[in-house]
């Protein structure tokens, strides 16, 4: 490791923060040195994002001091922090969907002369920035038309283009697939060489292992400690994070497969312009976990969304649930058939951030919770608490707006919403995105529990260990078709990747 440990660029001392009556940070010490990757670790709601929002000028009232190269600073806005050389990639995407890539890259600091934007120059710079990140998108493309992983890379490009001294990455990889993660890692290497200090927040242990120079751990808003990476191997790190031993995050494999539950024949998914999925056939047995692997754009997410009735266009298909043909024209049909879809973007398509945790958890199951449409308020509260407790949502009150929860707890709220309808089939698109190790373990255990009750699960995940450990069976998609299928005994990472890249076709 070649980090220069002489003088820190940023020193945060005695940092504390309260929201209302809830204390979320207490007396935190944090230093960033040039040329290092400093991992900030901790469970969901530990206060990692909050600490970084203080550093980057999002929150302006806090206790303690921040100094940069010896001088006390207090960035009052994110833009001011940018000018000081502090740049952030936020956990929740912050691009403007209705604007094009170029304008997003230069938002708040356009290339102008006399106040007019110099289009050609800006375009040139934008292309250079995109090229740096190895991104092959047009600068004119609208952000809302791009897949979430590309959006994430644009966000990274934006942060890098500022020539920052410190770059904060709050779970940057949570919406990237393995190929894009490699791009990200090589960028990080380059930035380190330039002497840039990097704060990296992630719940993925393999990333921490690979990137870390030093690690700081928070637990429940308190400072646990800072240590060089070699002094903090993963088991010890987990111990620091959760305060107990956790030897294996994947629970023991259980086989709960029963008879056929869901059968899809000839499903084609398209919108007005594009065909995402071409006549796919799929069966899922009761209590089975079917993993779907594939690269970005392979059509897996669209397959689940199409099955769920999320596209307005009807497609020639037959769907059988428990042997009976059902018709799903829209999501509410799917919900009535007890099919649940956890989408891969909780902020945009999973939760209503302005509503309470209770309202969100009860959103899909509202019909059953009401009588003649009249709501049963106390019934909703106890239902939400029951689901929330099962998933261990960490919140000061369930009346709180879901948008105020930490990222991982928002994810749990989105899952809780679907458990409330007592689903027969759970379609999970990146279910553990942004969830801490301890909670991941709980969710894997819950998945076993659910399959034991006969719930069928279809699982899309970009985390290979998760796919391998949890799936009874894996199908691989490539360009909208299923190109390979592996039983649990046959699954292995290399074969799956090869099939996902379209290298060989195995009989389905």
């Amino acid at each position: 490791m070649n980090s220069d440990l002489s003088t820190p660029v940023i020193t945060m001392k005695g940092i504390g923060k309260q929201f209302g009556k809830v204390r979320v940070l207490e007396n935190i010490e944090f230093e960033i040195f040039p040329g290092e990757v400093h991992i900030l670790a901790g469970e969901n709601g530990a206060g990692k994002s909050t600490l970084m929002k203080i550093l980057s000028g999002v929150y302006t009232s806090y206790e303690g001091t921040i100094s940069m190269a010896g001088k006390v600073i207090a960035p009052a806005t994110p833009l001011e922090a940018n000018h000081m050389g502090i740049s952030v990639i936020h956990q929740e995407l912050s691009l403007i969907p209705s604007m094009n890539v170029r304008d997003n890259l230069f938002l708040g600091r356009p290339v102008t002369s006399l106040g007019f934007i110099r289009d050609r120059e800006q375009n040139k710079k934008a292309l250079a920035v995109l090229n740096d990140v190895g991104l092959d998108v047009s600068a004119d493309a609208f952000v809302e038309d791009l897949p979430i992983s590309i959006q994430q890379l644009i966000e990274i490009a934006k942060a890098i283009s500022i020539n920052a001294k410190v770059i904060i990455m709050d779970e940057p990889s949570s919406s990237l697939n393995s190929k894009d993660v490699e791009i990200l890692f090589s960028l990080i290497e380059k930035l380190k060489e330039q002497g840039c200090g990097i704060v990296y927040i992630s719940h993925r242990m393999e990333e921490i292992e690979r990137l870390a120079n030093r690690i700081t751990v928070l637990r429940d808003g308190k400072f646990v400690g800072t240590a060089p990476a070699e002094k903090l191997p993963i088991p010890k790190l987990i111990n620091w994070m959760v305060g107990r031993e956790l030897t294996n995050i994947f629970p023991r494999y259980e086989m709960n497969r029963g008879k056929e539950k869901l059968r899809i024949e000839n499903l084609t998914v398209s919108d007005n312009e594009k065909t995402f999925v071409k006549s796919v056939n799929l069966t899922v047995k009761s209590g089975e976990i079917l993993g779907i692997a594939g690269l970005q754009g392979c059509g897996a997410s669209e397959l689940l969304l199409g099955l769920f009735g999320g596209y307005n266009k009807k497609t020639a298909e037959h769907i059988y649930l428990n042997g009976k043909e059902i018709s799903i024209k829209n999501p509410s049909d799917a919900v009535k058939s007890k099919i649940a879809l956890l989408t891969n973007d909780r902020k945009a398509t999973g939760l209503v951030l302005s509503m309470s945790i209770i309202a969100n958890i009860c959103m899909s199951g509202l019909v059953e919770l009401s009588r003649w449409g009249w709501r049963n308020i106390s019934g909703e509260i106890s239902a939400a608490e029951k689901q929330g407790d099962a998933l261990q949502i960490h919140a000061s009150s369930y009346e709180m707006e879901v948008g105020m929860l930490s990222g991982g707890n928002q994810q749990k709220a989105a899952i809780a919403k679907w458990m409330q309808i007592s689903p027969e089939v759970l379609l999970l698109d990146e279910p553990t995105r942004g969830i801490d190790v301890g909670a991941k373990h709980e969710i894997y255990q819950l998945m076993n529990e659910w399959t034991k009750q006969g719930i069928s699960i279809v699982l899309i995940t970009s985390e290979m260990p998760e796919l391998l450990a949890m799936s009874d069976r894996v199908v691989v998609m490539h360009r909208g078709s299923i190109t390979a299928e592996f039983s649990r005994e046959e699954t292995d990472a290399e074969n799956i990747l090869a099939a996902a890249m379209g290298k060989e076709t195995i009989r389905v």
């Binding site: 923060k17 309260q18 929201f19 209302g20 009556k21 929150y59 302006t60 009232s61 806090y62 769920f308 999320g310 829209n330 999501p331 509410s332 799917a334 919900v335 009535k336 879809l341 989408t343 945009a348 398509t349 999973g350 939760l351 209503v352 951030l353 302005s354 509503m355 309202a359 009860c362 959103m363 899909s364 509202l366 019909v367 009401s370 449409g373 009249w374 709501r375 308020i377 948008g403 919403k417």
Partner: protein
């Protein structure tokens, strides 16, 4: 926006201060300020007379009924510009049916409500099914509705004076229902229109806070795509929102006709803006997803009282408009702090 409202030194921040920084708190502040204004400029004690308060409520009632429907629409993130025109359609239709055609009151009321609901439903379908922007769809309905009102009246006011085919002017007796709606009960202390208004507010408010539909309106306003993908019947819910607004317009139109003892095809011009102002001053967000009927009641009272106080102090119309404009801006500015 910073998080300044949530992170004041909170140890000594009592429940009262917390209330004041909520939406309801801010709306209450605006209302209290207007009342204080009334106490200071009390027009030689006129402000302390019961009649003044009764009149303030009565005069705010027609707007209030419109604001009730408007709240429902705004919570979905939409807007209804057509309320004034639908009010006019209802006012003239009610007058024609009861005065000219001698229809029984109940049937006429029912007919007006059906027509109002129908016009609202057309806007609702354009928005929910044909996916037109609410602003555009209801702007079109605003024009169309005014056209309907003028077409069925030939542009003339419908009153008890009417000309028969021989060119003779005859005066018909004002139907009882007009007098009934414009009357007062409880020793003349509360107007029937005010009761109608409060009834509309209460029932709609109950649906908003206690019915599944209310919850669905909020979820659509907060995040339509997430609501859709959670199985919320987005189209039906939005459609019903505009239909309810249409019904409220019909009720307001009947009340307006009764108060004016005639049906004026020009009635309700500009009312949509007052109704929107009432909703927004209450603290319901124009972006959708946040708000409520209690807040709207505060907004209605704030504007209602403001108008009344200005008029008892004989402030000329120009001054009234100026002051109302300023108050709207101030109220909304304080509301905005509430959002992150």
């Amino acid at each position: 926006m910073t998080d300044s409202t949530q992170t004041l030194p909170l140890k000594n921040k009592g429940a009262f201060v917390q209330f004041l920084s909520s939406s309801a708190g801010r709306a209450t502040i605006a209302f209290v300020l207007v009342i204080v204004l009334g106490l200071i400029f009390n027009a030689d004690g006129a402000f302390f007379k019961l009649g003044m308060h009764r009149d303030a409520l009565r005069q705010a009632s027609v707007f209030g009924i419109l604001a009730v429907g408007m709240t429902v629409v705004i919570i979905t993130g939409g807007i209804d510009l057509s309320v004034g025109s639908i009010l006019a359609v209802s006012a003239v239709l009610f007058s024609i049916l009861t005065i000219h055609l001698d229809w029984p009151a109940w049937i006429s009321i029912l007919a007006c409500i059906i027509v109002g609901a129908g016009l609202g439903a057309i806007s609702g379908s354009l928005i929910a099914v044909a996916k037109l922007q609410p602003f555009i769809a209801t702007l079109a309905m605003m024009t169309f509705g005014r056209g309907v009102a003028k077409y069925i009246t030939g542009g003339q006011k419908i009153s008890t004076y009417l000309t028969n085919s021989d060119g003779e002017v005859i005066i018909k007796e004002l139907p009882g229902v007009f007098k009934a709606i414009d009357s007062r009960i409880m020793g003349g202390n509360i107007a029937i229109v005010s009761i109608i208004f409060l009834f509309c507010l209460l029932v709609t408010g109950l649906f908003l806070s206690r019915h599944k539909w209310g919850r669905e309106l909020f979820s659509i306003g907060g995040n339509e795509e997430a609501a859709r993908l959670s199985g919320v019947p987005v189209k039906l819910t939005k459609f019903l929102a505009y239909t309810v607004s249409g019904i409220m317009c019909a009720v307001a139109g009947i009340a307006q006709a009764a108060q004016e003892t005639q049906g004026d095809p020009e009635a309700g011009g500009g009312y949509e803006l007052t109704a929107i102002a009432m909703v927004v001053i209450g603290g319901t967000s124009l972006a959708g997803g946040r708000g409520g009927m209690g807040l709207t009641l505060l907004g209605i009272l704030t504007i209602g009282y403001l108008e009344k106080i200005l008029s008892i102090n004989a402030v000329p119309e120009s001054g009234r408009l100026l002051i109302t404009g300023v108050i709207i801006v101030l109220a909304v500015l304080t509301q905005r702090k509430n959002r992150k």
